[in-house]
């Protein structure tokens, strides 16, 4: 099959059967299991998928363009809206890229707090993934069990920063506010409870023969192919590649913590499922270490930029382009912040969440590109699902763990 995704009209299927005609279905954007506003143009033979073409962009909000007109601190709440299921990771990722640009080092307590909330967010995200993945495959009880525990994590977020979903908790140079000891204690007590609950999910799924039938050997991708298709995070680790930003490009408190990167073997849906469950356990381990090792002190660096940081207005050249057109162009010669460009990534819950930032010294991002894991994962969807059935497609979408807010940006 060529790399080119064929649309319905172009589609010519060579077959011996003169009466054969492919069935085309537009799955989504309001299909129950496309996880948001993903649309898939399917070409089917019976229930077998011959080809599919993802259609995205229904949730495009122009975040990258929007960021160009805000100062560095103001962009941070925008990143909440990327992968809104684990907003902490996005915020941290963005804060990190600006910190690296400005050369700020957060104080240790800030680092540990950020690591802790990131791991909590990872668990929350994996819980939502497990919930929807299991629901797609038909195990509806797991869905509600996962939400039960996710609710507790969201409660922690509420205690920490006053919001549950779009937290905006990390800030450039640390975190916005310290966490009370009482809350840390509650999170610490939550860890053994969560271990127990993971056992429960595993009891419902891991050994279940129906679950095995539905996931083993479905959506197989080899290690080389997975790298080539840009899969990252647990989707890649399911194929046996131990590529984890937390180990490869350590950030925050991760270098000081002891954790493993679970790796699968076969690169199928089951291995990715297994990896994520193990990752939840590792996350709990990290949280435990974070709370145990939590140093005292400030949570934010003193050189951290203010929320109302100074910016240079960009020059407008209105006359040449008519009254209503504004052009923002590079400020040459001014330098409020260092000039330069850098790419920095964090291990988001879905995979490698990268920020490519170009600074022109004006205090606003000149260009902010977000490398969203879901975006790349969706591009691998045709490869993964060709030749499988519609029911498997649902499992494969689930196993890639996509969030359209992040994909469409």
């Amino acid at each position: 099959m060529s790399e080119k995704s064929l649309t319905t009209k172009e589609y010519i299927y060579t077959t011996e059967d003169p009466f054969f005609s492919p069935l085309t279905i537009q799955m989504g954007p309001q299909h129950p299991s496309t996880h948001g506003v993903l649309k898939l143009n399917l070409v089917l033979e019976g229930e077998k998928i011959i080809d599919l073409e993802p259609e995205i962009g229904f949730l495009h909000r122009g975040l990258e363009k929007l960021a160009e007109s805000m100062n560095y601190a103001q962009v941070l709440p925008l990143t909440d809206r990327l992968d809104y299921i684990s907003a902490m990771n996005n915020n941290t990722g963005y804060a990190l890229v600006v910190e690296r640009l400005l050369g700020i080092e957060p104080p240790p307590r800030g680092k540990y707090l950020r690591t802790m909330v990131c791991e909590l967010a990872r668990i929350a995200s994996h819980l939502l993934w497990l919930a929807t993945h299991a629901l797609d495959i038909g195990a509806m009880t797991v869905f509600l069990y996962c939400f039960r525990e996710r609710e507790k994590i969201l409660d922690f977020f509420e205690m920490i920063c006053g919001a549950r979903l779009t937290v905006s908790y990390p800030r450039i140079g640390g975190v916005r506010v310290d966490v009370e000891e009482k809350v840390l204690e509650e999170i610490y007590n939550f860890i053994p409870y969560m271990y127990e609950k993971i056992e429960e999910y595993e009891g419902l799924l891991s050994q279940n023969r129906i679950w095995l039938d539905r996931t083993v050997g479905v959506g197989v991708i080899s290690a080389e192919e997975a790298i080539a298709y840009g899969l990252t995070g647990p989707s890649l680790r399911g194929s046996g590649v131990a590529y984890d930003i937390r180990k490869h490009f350590p950030y925050d408190a991760y270098p000081e913590l002891d954790f493993e990167v679970p790796v699968g073997k076969n690169g199928d849906t089951y291995d990715r499922y297994w990896c994520r469950l193990q990752e939840m356990r590792q996350s709990l381990r990290i949280i435990k270490q974070c709370i145990e090792k939590m140093p005292d002190g400030p949570v934010c660096a003193e050189v951290s930029p203010d929320l109302d940081m100074q910016v240079f207005k960009r020059a407008f050249r209105a006359e040449a382009w008519g009254e209503k057109t504004f052009i923002a162009f590079l400020n040459e010669g001014v330098e409020l912040v260092p000039k330069g460009e850098l790419y920095s990534a964090v291990e988001g819950a879905k995979g490698e969440l990268g920020f490519y930032l170009v600074s022109d010294g004006s205090g606003r991002p000149y260009r902010l590109h977000i490398r969203a894991p879901s975006y790349v994962h969706i591009s691998a969807l045709p490869k993964l699902s060709r030749g499988h059935m519609v029911a498997d497609l649902v499992a494969i979408i689930g196993t890639l763990d996509i969030v359209m807010g992040e994909c469409d940006r």
Binding site: S2, E3, K4, S5, E53, I56, G57, H60, G62, E64, K65, S69, R100, L101, G103, E224, I227, A228, Y229, G230, V241, Y243, H248, W321, K324, T325, F326, I327, A328, F329, L330, E332, G340, E341, L342, Y343, A345, E352, G354, Y356, V358, Y366, R367, H369, R371, Y375, V376, I378, S379, A380, K383, D408, R409
Partner: protein, 176 residues
């Protein structure tokens, strides 16, 4: 790690010296600026044989009004998972002929990235199997991430108070 990167860059310089404008470093990240019209497919192919197997991101920047350089820059960020080295290519693209060779056949993950760059910057990737708009509707006009894209729409945006006023005015005529 550093040595390995230096080795690769040495070989890079030998092979493609004609196209390299600058090799530099910022905050520990090495990048190579390539001139307009570089054979990017060959260069990426070379990097792939050197072990850069992970294309972290592909994007573009519009340096409108920056003196003395072509307007666009297409950015390729590579990483070698086995060797732990990363390298960024910045390929300059002129405004007159915004065309770049596609690298989809080398890195399938570039598929959507290139479509995105085409969609938002209007840089065409020659040889891409399915180059059409991806985030915006197919009938969208213009490329929004270009710096000369109008920030204000043709109709002035109405803020809330104006909307209330309008509604009251229309309400006087019995229109809801």
């Amino acid at each position: 790690m550093k040595e390995r990167l230096r080795e690769v860059l040495e070989r890079f310089k030998v092979n493609f010296s004609a196209y390299i404008i600058d090799i530099n470093e910022f905050r520990g990240q090495t990048f190579v600026i390539l001139g307009d019209g570089s054979p990017i497919r060959d260069i990426v192919g070379f990097l792939k044989t050197e072990g850069f197997n992970h294309l972290q991101t592909l994007t573009a920047v519009d340096y409108l009004q920056k003196s003395g350089v072509p307007r666009f820059e297409v950015v390729y960020q590579f990483y070698s998972i086995d060797q732990g080295i990363s390298l960024r290519l910045r390929l300059q693209v002129s405004e007159d002929k915004p065309e770049v060779e596609s690298i989809v056949d080398l890195f399938p993950s570039a598929n959507f990235f290139e479509r995105e760059v085409y969609d938002l910057f209007g840089i065409r990737f020659m040889g891409h199997p399915n180059l059409k708009r991806i985030l915006l509707p197919q009938n969208w006009e213009g490329h929004p991430l270009r710096k000369d894209y109008p920030l204000m729409p043709e109709d002035k945006p109405r803020d809330f108070l104006e909307l209330v006023e309008l509604k009251e005015r229309l309400g006087g005529y019995g229109i809801r």
